[in-house]
């Protein structure tokens, strides 16, 4: 046997760009994060050919998990075709030989910024969220070492102060993104800048969610079938963004998360934020053979876990 046959062939890059040691470290960190749902695991964030703050955290996790058999979907603000999503998808495919898709049901790895797909993800799928600021306590505690102590003590009382301020000023929860949530009854997470609409999708989800912040060098996970509860006051239940009355102008769908499109005449049109889902709907209308999966919110806006979302309390 020749030595040549025993070694991997010479190439310019390691498989999936990161060197084997980096990938091994990341995989170990991911295992730790899964073992401690919601706990922020520090990791050595590697240099990548994109700038910090453009999804390096998510990209590193994706690259450490991707294989030639993977099917990758990349989402940016719900869209598959924005510059950032297209760049990342091309890079991942080129470096790993993985297939790509825009279909959330078909994908095995979904790297996303800002959104969780509308269609219910299933077991065996991994959702990788890019996180700009992993620390939920930053809103009330400027000192990061003190925040770590608070996580250790599960001392989260002050987080309700943020909600209190919103209720005093606006009479309702108004936080548009990174709405804090308790994972597995133990750790509080900032679930990346997903809208409140997407927070409930993490609860008892069949898929694995990995959240990774490249600049802050922390990653954390919501393992499959874990309780995730958004913060709320006992007498004022958590609410998702009200999407009622909004109809997607291309597909006619209602009660999904919509993008607002201001028109020149002052009116507003709405468009599905999840572009992969919109493509599938359009294709099935055109008679193509696609299977549109069940969605987390049905057409009446009911969440698929009955009773998880409580009706609002209307006060004077």
């Amino acid at each position: 046997m020749m030595l040549e046959q025993l070694t991997t062939p010479q190439s310019d890059y390691s498989y999936a760009y990161l060197d084997p040691y980096a990938k091994r470290e990341l995989r170990r960190r991911i295992l730790k994060a899964i073992a401690l749902p919601g706990y922020q695991v520090p990791y050595a964030s590697r240099e990548l050919p994109i700038a910090r703050g453009w999804g390096t955290g998510g990209l590193q996790v994706t690259l450490s998990l991707v294989g030639p058999e993977s099917i990758v979907k990349v989402i940016d603000q719900g869209a598959d075709d924005s510059v950032n999503a297209a760049n990342l998808r091309r890079f991942i495919a080129r470096m790993s030989g993985a297939q790509t898709t825009t279909d959330a049901v078909e994908a095995t790895l979904i790297q996303s910024r800002h959104r969780i797909p509308e269609e219910i993800l299933s077991e065996g799928q991994a959702l990788i969220l890019q996180v700009p600021d992993p620390e939920p306590l930053r809103a009330v505690e400027a000192e990061i070492s003190r925040a770590r102590e608070m996580h250790a003590d599960a001392d989260y009382g002050q987080m309700w102060l943020v909600l209190y301020e919103q209720l005093v000023r606006y009479k309702q929860y108004v936080q548009g993104a990174s709405y804090p949530a308790m994972v597995g009854g133990r750790y509080m997470i900032s679930p990346s800048p997903i809208p409140r609409w997407d927070n409930p999708k993490l609860h008892q989800a069949a898929h694995l969610t990995l959240l990774s912040a490249g600049r802050e060098k922390r990653l954390y996970a919501v393992p499959p079938y874990t309780d995730v509860y958004p913060l709320e006051f006992e007498d004022i239940p958590f609410q998702v963004e009200d999407q009622s009355g909004r109809v997607c102008k291309t597909t006619g769908v209602t009660n999904k998360f919509m993008n607002e499109l201001p028109q020149p005449d002052g009116t507003v049109d709405y468009d599905l934020s999840d572009s992969g889902y919109a493509l599938k709907l359009a294709a099935s209308r055109a008679g193509e053979e696609v299977t549109v999966g069940a969605t987390y919110y049905d057409d009446e806006g009911n969440f698929y876990h009955d009773g998880y979302l409580k009706p609002p309390i209307l006060s004077a």
């Binding site: 003590d153 001392d155 006992e234």
Partner: protein, 273 residues
């Protein structure tokens, strides 16, 4: 109405703190910052419902002593007990972080000279008060509103401004927010670190009035630190005089301020601009 009938209708409280065991007891407290002895083997006893004044010049260790009593810092040596159900007999300096915080939140209220130390300047005033309740696990918004309101009213804060951030309030109002926050959980011990320094004289008098009223109504035990002998004379029952980290004289307020024995205290009492 004669003086005697007046006396009958408002009988004086019996002198509670004479035979009751001390409510606060700190023995042999020493705190060093590198080579500076900030507090050196200080013994402090405060009786239930009493107001203890600590006076001394800048750098005499009075604020450090107060921070130690608030469990914000750990001393080199010393023992600290509070005679409050649940913590009686425990040396509070030896508690772990979690238990220490519990005592601090539940049983001790603190008002700082600098409101930036005690308040979140960009959150609402009522939110600042509600924070204490949130830490102890209150999760009902309506309850928080009511309790914050009650506490702010008790400290005579103008209630129509309860949702303004302390950033936009006057110095006197900021101190009232701090006071409301300190009293939100109805602690038995209130620590005041120069609460009226930096306020103008009329506002100072109003804040002192509020403090006096609260003390009378709730029988809170108060330790007040001030370099202003007028404040000490108005509020305190007993006085501790400190210099270079040591306690040089202890006694009843009248006794210390009218007939000081120690040379330094004499100097302090007679010093006037």
């Amino acid at each position: 109405m004669t003086a005697i009938s007046n006396h009958r209708s408002y009988p004086l409280d019996p002198p509670r703190f004479v035979d009751a065991p001390p409510m606060l007891r700190a023995v042999g407290v020493t705190k060093r910052y590198r080579h500076v002895n900030a507090v050196e083997s200080a013994d402090v006893e405060v009786y239930p419902g009493e107001v203890l004044g600590i006076v001394g010049e800048s750098g005499s260790g009075k604020s450090t002593l107060l921070r130690l009593l608030n469990l914000e810092e750990q001393p080199e040596t010393g023992e600290y007990t509070l005679n409050i159900p649940g913590v009686t007999g425990q040396n509070l300096f030896a508690l772990d972080r979690f238990a220490r915080r519990e005592v601090q939140i539940q049983h001790i209220g603190m008002v700082y000279q600098n409101p930036f130390l005690g308040l979140r300047m960009n959150f609402t005033s009522s939110g600042n008060v509600a924070e204490r309740l949130l830490i102890t696990g209150e999760r009902r918004y309506e309850t928080l509103r009511t309790k914050a309101r009650t506490s702010l009213l008790a400290s005579e804060f103008p209630i129509d401004r309860m949702d303004d951030p302390p950033r936009v309030l006057s110095g006197g109002m900021q101190q009232r927010v701090q006071l409301a926050k300190a009293l939100a959980l109805q602690p038995q011990l209130l620590l005041l670190d120069e609460p009226t320094t930096g306020l103008d004289v009329s506002v100072q008098a109003l804040v002192l009035d509020t403090l006096k009223r609260l003390q009378r109504e709730r029988h809170i035990t108060i330790v007040i630190v001030s370099h202003d002998l007028g404040v000490i004379r108005t509020l305190s029952d007993r006085v501790i005089v400190m210099r270079y980290g040591r306690i040089v004289e202890v006694g009843l307020a009248d006794q210390i301020l009218n007939d000081p024995q120690d040379a330094y205290t004499q100097q302090l009492v007679h010093a006037k601009l």
